[in-house]
């Protein structure tokens, strides 16, 4: 069932593929992307670090969009699930956003996914602790 919703997203123009992870970055399911699971996990962890920065704020991050010349990445967080979508370019963005929202709302209702995501719930700030970051990143965080 989860694959069906990821396929819905992947079927849109310019979408390369999509995947979902827990809040620790563990990949639960992916569709369409021809990269290693480890690469997906690395992408997720970096998105989750950005989320962790805002975690203690009044309004934590729920959505991030990243624009490159020939690349567009959307990360959406809902109920302890991160959905990442990778596109060649930001085409039909309105439709993409709707499809992501609808798909994610169905995905979080999947029992198997829900259970796994719940078991991985953690303090987001652990992704910003020493040992998780390289020297440059640690230095940048120390300036906060």
């Amino acid at each position: 069932m989860v694959e069906r919703w990821l396929r819905e997203i992947q079927n849109l123009p310019s979408v390369k593929g999509t995947f979902i992870t827990t809040m620790r970055g563990a990949v639960l399911e992916s569709y369409g992307l021809e990269i290693e699971e480890q690469d997906m996990q690395n992408m997720a962890i970096r998105l989750l670090r950005i989320h962790a920065l805002t975690w203690e704020a009044e309004n934590p991050l729920t959505e991030i969009e990243l624009y490159w010349k020939n690349l567009f990445i959307v990360g959406k967080i809902s109920q302890n699930i991160l959905l990442v979508t990778v596109c060649d370019s930001p085409q039909v963005v309105a439709l993409l956003r709707i499809t992501i929202n609808v798909s994610l709302s169905h995905i979080v209702q999947e029992k198997k996914i829900y259970k796994k995501a719940k078991s991985h719930v953690t303090d987001p700030s652990h992704l910003l602790r020493k040992g998780q970051l390289d020297e440059n990143e640690t230095k940048l965080l120390a300036k906060r």
Partner: protein, 215 residues
């Protein structure tokens, strides 16, 4: 009753013109990013102005460069001293002339950019941050720019795309509750823009790019 507003909506030349043509005696207070400026009108003439560290005509010229800032006009407040003897019309003409020929120093460049960005529908606030993420200029004084580690966010964004691209990320859009923030690099600095939640990043980014590129 005091007239209160923002220079985004009524420009300072219009405020000066209005008070002088109405032969008002009043005090105009302008606040921008914690810095205060004062212009006093006496019987329809600009008689005194202060904008730390400037006093007199120079203060008016500096205030004319502001594109936003809260203002308040209080009637029947007399100036503590008279430092301006030029007629209001000549003062405005000279001020506008100076603005047109102002050297493009850093502040002027950012003021022009702020003006262009703030005319984009949905743009609420703009910050310019240095390479270390500290606010250099902003359209409003807010702590968020300091607490949100923009440089760290940009670094994570750049690194996460490595399986696909090694180019620098052009725009980062963050949705934080009701606030949408756009972050982009600009030379060795960063520009952060706060949008209305309803404003979609993909529709506003081409306009932002144009506004920034026009400098």
């Amino acid at each position: 009753m005091a007239l209160i507003g923002n220079l985004k909506d009524i420009k300072l030349p219009s405020l000066i013109q209005l008070n002088c043509m109405e032969h008002n005696t009043a005090k105009l207070t302008i606040e921008r990013a914690g810095r205060f400026g004062f212009v006093y009108f006496e019987n329809g003439q600009v008689s005194h102005a202060e904008f730390d560290p400037y006093i007199g005509e120079e203060a008016v010229y500096k205030l004319l460069g502001l594109v936003d800032g809260r203002f308040k006009v209080e009637s029947d407040v007399r100036p503590p001293v008279r430092t301006i003897h030029t007629s209001w019309s000549n003062l405005l003409l000279e001020g506008m002339h100076k603005l047109d020929h102002a050297q493009d120093d850093g502040e002027n460049i950012y003021n022009k950019m702020f003006e262009r960005l703030l005319t984009i529908r949905g743009v609420n606030m703009v910050w310019v941050l240095d390479a270390e993420g500290q606010t250099i200029f902003s359209t409003d004084q807010k702590e968020m720019a300091q607490t949100l580690n923009v440089v760290f966010i940009a670094l994570q964004a750049e690194r996460l795309a490595r399986p696909f691209s090694r180019q620098p990320v052009r725009f980062i859009s963050l949705l934080l509750g009701d606030r949408r923030l756009i972050i982009t690099s600009y030379h060795h600095e960063y520009i952060m823009i706060e949008l209305d939640k309803k404003t979609k990043s993909d529709t506003v980014i081409p306009l932002i790019r144009r506004a920034i590129g026009k400098i």
